[in-house]
Amino acid sequence: MQNKTKDWLEDALGALPTQPPSLAFRDELQARLQREGLRTASEAKRTSRDAARPVEAGRVLAIVRPLLTAAAAALLVTIGYQLGADSGNHGTTIIDSSGAIAEADLIDLYEMRDVIEGWEMTADAELEPGFQAIATEDETWIDEILAGGQK
């Protein structure tokens, strides 16, 4: 019975509202402190600026954050595009311009492939006696050369 009584009393006490501070409370307190000579105007100005700083910083951050996000995204896209473009160049430029063979040479080689394929390297023993000898001794000469190169 006692507990039941206390329960409703707790509920009743919970019905009592509170009173939030008014929006002008801090300003009025500052004015009062200045009026009474406890705080100078410059101190009040400085401290109110200090107190407002986190709020202002929060507002600025709220505005700047989407812009920073967009800038970061744009940067990533640019870098990605650049990497992709570079990668494309690697794919098409198979000829090292500073190397032993140029693109024009490769084209020439391609156009002359029939001649090259039809060229019997070992046909003339005077021109290439080494090849002639190998070819006649063993048909697997190329395998032996490769095996020897690995050693």
């Binding site: 009584t5 206390k6 409703w8 009393l9 707790e10 509920d11 009743a12 006490l13 019905a15 009592l16 509202p17 509170t18 009173q19 939030p20 501070p21 008014s22 409370f25 801090r26 009025e28 307190l29 009062r32 402190l33 009474e36 406890l38 705080r39 101190e43 400085r46 401290t47 109110s48 200090d50 107190a51």
Partner: protein, 195 residues
């Protein structure tokens, strides 16, 4: 929590060292607490804002003599309580004549008139918030304060004792009487609600 761990004490010590911004942080952090306790001690009067302002002015003035001895909130409660007490006495807002008090204003007797007239006349037209307001206003100030500090602000008996300047044992006794007196005051309204 020791006073060295209490953020309020840290701010107050910074304020004592000359950091004016620390005082503003105290105001920001504790203004809700001050308004709440004054509202419950003073009731729906127009004095809450003025007394809240006075509380912080007193705190500002206490800069040089403040010595950490517990949480800053306890110190602020004490200032607010003393100001509210003075205001109540100045205004003559003593409990209504329908109630009688024993020695030192600690005992309250609910007269027949309250039980007889309250439910019919007032139960339908007044909500529980205003009834509790009136019930609290009928309590002796120290009982009212003990109940407010315990129920709304969550202070324990030791803290209530510190704020009111009494022992924790006396605070416990005060709290018990406050609850019983408020229950006696509100019971007729509760009964009327159930009928």
């Amino acid at each position: 929590m020791t006073e060295s761990e209490d953020q309020g004490v840290i701010w107050m010590q910074a304020f004592q060292a000359g950091d004016e911004a620390a005082f503003d942080q105290i105001v920001e952090a504790y203004q809700g607490l001050v308004f709440g306790v004054l509202r419950r001690l003073l009731g729906p009067s127009g004095w809450v804002e003025e007394m809240a302002q006075e509380t912080f002015v007193r705190l500002y003035r206490a800069r040089d003599r403040y010595a950490p001895a517990g949480k800053l909130s306890t110190f602020i409660y004490r200032i607010a309580y003393n100001l509210a007490l003075n205001r109540i006495r100045d205004e003559g807002r003593r409990p209504s004549s329908s109630l009688q008090f024993g020695k030192e204003g600690e005992e309250m007797v609910v007269p027949d008139s309250v039980e007889r007239t309250a439910p019919e006349a007032q139960s339908d037209s007044q909500d529980w918030a205003s009834l509790v307001d009136k019930g609290l206003a009928e309590l002796p100030e120290n009982q009212r304060a003990a109940l407010v500090f315990q129920h709304y602000d969550g202070l324990d008996l030791t803290e209530i004792g510190e704020v009111l300047g009494i022992s924790s044992k006396a605070a416990k006794s005060l709290l018990h009487r406050a609850r019983e007196n408020l229950r006696l005051y509100l019971q007729p309204f509760k009964d009327a609600e159930q009928d």
